[in-house]
Symmetry: C2
Subunit: 264 residues, 2 copies
Amino acid sequence: MSDTRAIGIFDSGLGGLTVVKRVREILPNENIIYFGDTARLPYGSKSRKKIIEFSIENTNFLLSHNVKIIVVACNTSTAVALYEIRKMTNIPVIGVIAPGARAAVAFTKNNKIGVIGTAGTINSEEYTKHILELNDKIKVYSQACGLFVPIVEEGWIDKEITNHIIAEYLMPLKIAGIDTIILGCTHYPLLKNGIANFFENKINIVDSAESCAAAVKEKLAELNILNSSAARGTATFFVSDTPAKFSEIGSRFLDEEFSAIKVV
Amino acid sequence: MSDTRAIGIFDSGLGGLTVVKRVREILPNENIIYFGDTARLPYGSKSRKKIIEFSIENTNFLLSHNVKIIVVACNTSTAVALYEIRKMTNIPVIGVIAPGARAAVAFTKNNKIGVIGTAGTINSEEYTKHILELNDKIKVYSQACGLFVPIVEEGWIDKEITNHIIAEYLMPLKIAGIDTIILGCTHYPLLKNGIANFFENKINIVDSAESCAAAVKEKLAELNILNSSAARGTATFFVSDTPAKFSEIGSRFLDEEFSAIKVV
């Protein structure tokens, strides 16, 4: 049985392309439909009600393309709206939080896990809840890092000053002695080197995009709806706005040429 | 003749409250209706088309409240959509750019003016065009400062690291030897001290909010539609979303207690 329907992935903007990249690495034959809500990003600083409203609209867009699974590649949407999205459909819905929490719990040796994300994600405490459900002996240290998304969008990846900003946010986690950190925002993998250096490379870094892609593969296999075609799958990108530099930013996340169709 | 109709002011978010603050200082008896599009902010990184669409909607909201003047307290909207907004109505429409440009041209002695703002404002080159129209001998040095808005929203006003970020963006303007700088974004007045220090307090700083308020007063006087009531005017605030901490952020800009009505 081969199911050629696409995997539907949405994010508040282009950060979710880090999830697309990981999905294409481990599921190269799958077709992908991506929607980035670039007209209304960022979600991390908005209210729960708006985040749910936007997430439902994004899901309806993907459902209208007959996808076989919905991937919520946005930590803020996952934290706030996953329950409402699941109520909308019978197809499986995978978020970025549960897979990341599971990976971190598997990695930690000293039971001290750090979680970083937007204010929306951190305030929801969803990572903490998932981690404690798996192991209530673990201590979770959370930190909202409001400037990390703008830094990545600005392209300040390898600048000296970026290391100072990283230190400003992460020092409390270092002092706490965490041995594992979850990058709880799809923009953050681009700061992975700087974060690793700050912890002198002595820490497990959980990239929620990577864990999420693994969870998608597992779920498709479990339901026997993998695409068994031998050809490389297609990837079609939709966005709600196409501002200046958006292709450049998209390519940064996707790690390959990026061009998208605008939805009016 | 006293005209008690309100002054209508809109911004992409709460930064425009720096304009409200200035208007209330010099026109304490005027009533004010403010609209902040907090559900869709920021505008600075969005496309021209979206910025125009959002600005028209905001203007219609203010017009429905029977205002006597429209103040576009958002540099990005002014840069991109002022022409379209003026076409919508016969009442006067004041943006933040022309008044700021005029003030800077009056200040400069060495004919070297720096302009800082969002990518949208800087890419539009509207400040440069206005300045050169007034005096084509002036050299304009523009710099988009993508992290300044997030820094202000994060509340990183007096941090040491903020001074490093300021230096990172403004060093080219210092090297160019500007004697005047326009804060071409309503968030930036909150970084005024740090910017002044970076230039060793030897520079004229044009706060576009302040120049804009002066232009509003001038226009109302010219049209003889000032409110001559002796009582302090009312200020009513509307927003399109009410996320966490928004009252705290609003109070920071307004410099007084802030609470708003949410528009559905």
